[in-house]
Symmetry: C2
Subunit: 389 residues, 2 copies
């Protein structure tokens, strides 16, 4: 879309309230439109002018190809999409001209008429979170394989923005949306699902109807962590819990249940932690000093890192006197010293599965599906046998 010859900045008036419309649709905006109206000169004339232009050329359309190849635009369309009923000679000519003119189809026009865009929207809370980006990798892989293009929209840790971006994707007529976030209100998701299939990757507080979900089994992950540590002889296994978000909650419950099953209910100790670095460090310090555990199961790798860091400061050797298990198995786990034992979620698989579910919806499925995938504990250097004491 490059036909505007001028474009001014600034401005931005208030559109009608209540209904979402393009926020910059002001008078200023409208006045800067390319100058065409119903009474414009016939295409041939326009074309001649534009052909002379140098940079920022008007994109050639099938009409241009048709003219150059001396056929109708319908035939161009048919030839371009490989329809059988076009003679080889004509097809070759059309394709040649198209290539020469550097023709690219217009997704807007095609989408408008076809009623589908072959676009998949991926909405994510936090680009900086490697967990999210690895799910994205799975989504992209599967989307590619199915001929879809994945377009990412970023919520920047802001629920409102997340909703806006979701809306933008839907207005763009994407054929489906993968939401990698558990921040959105279930009702918002349900509403979105009435416009296009929506799959949520993550653990929702409350299952949104009409929306499929893909999650990992947090309780199983917590159990694996506790059993790993108990198997190494640890008894005072503390837990650093996250906020009240569903996944964190499930890990906490899983931890408590596993401790009970291991006969260690009396040793269970939970310390809650904030989302920011400072609170994380404080919680780590508190936990190490107060509970004096020999092992810690942290709600995620960042929390585990805070523990490692604190242990480093306090001169507590890991894993000799303290074992630490994280969750998510992010790249961090393989970067820090000592390498962090962590519970791995099959992120790429989750991403791929999300696309599969989307395609099933497009295929007509109406029943909701909630997939739960098993996590795997990856043992590394941060866990060892419990100290003799």
């Amino acid at each position: 879309m490059v036909r505007c010859s001028r474009w001014t900045l600034g401005g931005g008036g208030g559109p009608a309230a209540g209904v979402r419309v393009n926020p910059r649709q002001t008078e200023l905006e409208r006045s800067r439109r390319r100058g065409r109206g119903p009474r414009r000169p016939p295409r041939a004339a326009r074309h001649n002018v534009l052909v002379t232009e140098r940079r920022r050329t008007r994109r050639p359309t099938i009409v241009d190809i048709a003219a150059a190849a001396g056929v109708s635009k319908s035939l161009v369309s048919l030839a371009l999409r490989g329809d059988e009923g076009v003679s080889d000679a004509t097809r070759a000519r059309i394709l040649g001209v198209a290539d020469e003119l550097g023709y690219r189809s217009n997704t807007l026009a095609r989408g408008l008429v076809q009623g589908r865009t072959m676009l998949l929207g991926v909405l994510l809370t936090d680009l900086a979170n490697p967990y999210h980006t690895e799910v994205v990798a799975g989504v992209e892989e599967a989307a590619d394989a199915e001929g879809f293009t994945a377009l990412l929209a970023h919520g920047r840790n802001d629920r409102r923005r997340l909703e806006q971006q979701l809306d933008a994707l839907l207005q763009l007529s994407v054929d489906g949306v993968v939401v990698i976030s558990s921040w959105l209100d279930p009702r918002v998701l349900t509403e979105a699902a009435r416009r296009a299939p929506v799959v949520m990757v993550g653990r929702p507080a409350e299952h949104p109807t009409g929306v499929d979900t893909v999650a990992n089994d947090d309780a199983a992950g917590a159990t694996a962590a506790v059993e790993h540590l108990a198997g190494l002889g640890h008894r005072r296994i503390a837990h650093i819990a996250g906020s009240r978000r569903p996944a964190a909650r499930a890990r906490r419950e899983g931890y408590l249940a596993a401790m009970r099953r291991a006969g260690l209910a009396a040793e269970a100790a939970v310390h809650t932690i904030g989302d920011d670095t400072g609170r994380r460090a404080a919680a780590a310090a508190e936990l190490l000093e107060a509970a004096a555990p020999t092992a810690v199961f942290a709600v995620n790798d960042l929390a585990a890192l805070a523990v490692l860091d604190r242990a480093h400061v306090l001169g507590v050797p890991v894993p000799d006197r303290l074992s630490v298990v994280g969750y998510d198995n992010t790249g961090l786990a393989e970067t820090v010293r000592p390498r962090l034992t962590s519970v791995d979620q099959p992120r790429a698989t989750m991403g791929r599965l999300a696309v599969t579910l989307l395609l099933e919806r497009l295929g007509g499925r109406t029943a909701d599906r909630r997939e739960v995938l098993p996590p795997t504990l990856i043992p590394r250097a941060s866990t060892g046998v419990a100290p003799a004491g």
Copy 2:
């Protein structure tokens, strides 16, 4: 786009070669279209049917609103966009109906007719690279402020995919593209810039004509690192260089020049490093063992991390016997122990500047601009005074 009632998976025949077309446009595909043709029933009839549908409703259009409000669709359009010349009563009624029906404008249709989409494409090489994502944050912030929506496309460290995604964005008629990558061929960028304004963030090997660029001053950053270390009394300052990519090259040259200027030309030692973790570790080991430097300036934080890690293994205390400086000031720098001294690029500013340049292009500027922003060294715990020996 949810009007297809059925959607089958699999398939994927070969489209006409040479011209990029929707890769899944096969017979199978076409047969699954919603059943409408030129001879379909008038809208009113259709509407009645669809209103009865429960889930996955047809998106209401301005025609639906017009019908419900008893006005023409143009009036709806005007009212929705806050045009002056609509009576308050009518406007209120239209807005009310729109709200009730859950109307959202169709970006495809609007973009097609307006010749612009208010969409900005952001193309990036690597989602997992925090440097990239922080530039994205700047882009998004500025895009937001100007009323644009930023849509991300991910090249996944693959030049071909990067080109495909760029193409997809252009076919979508985005109003501009920010390319956060130095992987693309200059000719590809120049070609893209003929369709929509393109700004590249990063240091290109060769400046693509018609494309604006935003980069940091790598030589200045390298100089800052060397001067910081020399100021701490270091003389044997080695450099871990990256691949032959332009930014890495500029840092290397900057390092050599700065060493010369500091009278340390004889002490300069460059070790080249690969992009993968293994090669990185090997280079770090080689460097520490062979050159026995008291300080290392690494091409980026990941390389610096490899050095820290190696030093840890070899029992070399940092910063007591070895100082380490990274580049990029990623989150890692604040996570590792000891905290890493690093050269910071003003990433958010670069992202915002990229959007500004884009808007200038849309405003009619035709001359290329190459912006170079100064980096800043952030001293942390990984650098200290040179050991006495």
